[in-house]
Symmetry: C7
Subunit: 94 residues, 7 copies
């Protein structure tokens, strides 16, 4: 079973606190309850979105930092995902 995002949307899986600690990233203050780091699990096709050409820059497996409150949460087979627009992804962490 797969979620295939439309247009410029991306499906991400939030990284658990432990995973983040391992990689050395900690999000400050109130953000602790709302982790903003995630792994990309599906990437939409991009193309013309709202009249503008969007090229997808992120790829499956990327670790990303995303805008707080962005996107929509959905639970599939016990795992929570967030579906958001690529423009709500701020940076890739390497």
């Amino acid at each position: 079973m797969r979620i295939k995002p439309l247009a410029d949307r991306v499906v991400i899986k939030k990284l658990e606190a432990e995973e983040k600690t391992k990689s050395g990233i900690v999000l400050p203050g109130s953000a602790k309850e709302q982790p903003q780091m995630a792994e990309v699990v599906e990437v939409g096709p991009g193309g013309i979105v709202d009249g503008k050409e969007i090229k997808m820059e992120v790829k499956v497996g990327d670790k990303v930092i995303f805008s707080k409150y962005a996107g929509t949460e959905v639970k599939i087979e016990g795992q929570e995902y967030t579906i958001l627009r690529q423009s709500d992804i701020l940076a890739v962490v390497e």
Copy 2:
């Protein structure tokens, strides 16, 4: 009797909780009262909408995840439907 959506609109039928459980998808928390998964039952023609070319990407029968609160509800012959813009559909589930 048929609802033919205009422009980039799509008619969807929300999936019942049981159907979703079968397919393994459960929506979290308060979303339980507002299921966000649905089946596409009618697709508008697309074309120039608000000055922009819109190509319809979803098709009748697709299982989709859509934006909470998006669209307008209507009841026809005892069945509730939601009419929304394709841009309010986040992803297709396969």
Copy 3:
């Protein structure tokens, strides 16, 4: 006496509850007080509206579902009408 809508506007006459029951359409909950189904009685010429080319897709006699709260109500010779933009019409019912 005729109302000739300008630009991309359409004049509609809301359908009475009885008419809707006959056709099998019932609108849910609070919408009952605000019927959202109507018949198109006049159609504007379309053309360039706010810098964008609008082609009129609905025609006189169409039964349509429209956005709640959209448009302006006016009473002519005892009959209430609503004047709205074509973009506030969600679907045609056949």
Copy 4:
């Protein structure tokens, strides 16, 4: 003395209740205090307005229905007028 509206603006004179009754038009409910029917008394030149070509469709003498609260009121030689954009005129009544 004349008010010459700029750009896509139109000067209208609201029709009195009696005139409206004669022509058979009555506006519903709270709109009674704010008549929405008027006669066009001056029409701006149209042209490029906010980067878009506007063609004036109404003409002096037209009876029009306009958006509630649209425009600016001004009193000249004892007569009240409203100056509004043509896009705030919904329909011409014939």
Copy 5:
């Protein structure tokens, strides 16, 4: 000493009540405290403003009606002026 407005801005001097009475124009109700009639004293060069070509239509000496609350007030050598965009001028009075 001169105020030279930039872009599509215009400098106006509000007309006093007496001057307005002479010319037969009286503004209604609460507008009395905020006269909306003025004389143009300086006109900006127009040109490309916010990506759109603006042609200046008003000229020094024009009597104009302007949008309530539009613009910024400034006092120079004891005289109050208002600096506003040409698009906040509704009409020229002749």
Copy 6:
């Protein structure tokens, strides 16, 4: 040490009340606490800003009137400056 504004931004230094009195300009009412007259001390390069070509019209040394509350204040070596967009400058005073 220099502040070099980006894009269509301008750095201004507010003029003191005394300077304004000398030049004969006094700002009315509550504006006294927020002087709106300033001298331009740095001018950004202009160019394409938010997809639109911006040509800088003000130059260092210009006395300008600017929009109340526009821009961001910064203190450098004991002197306060305001950084704002050229479009928040209303007029040049000569």
Copy 7:
């Protein structure tokens, strides 16, 4: 470990009060609690962002003044960073 900002985003590290004092810059009033001066540590690739070509003008090592409240804070290996759009950077200080 590196944060690679997407599109027109920039990663900045706020400068400590001491560093600012050394360089002679002090931010006024309530801004003291929210330093607005920072050093650029990563610069996105620019390119087409929201349909518009963005050229990156800042570079790593630039000292910049940025819009209060702009951007998103993230902590990596004990250091706080802010990720913001280049358009939220007001000026470069030299």
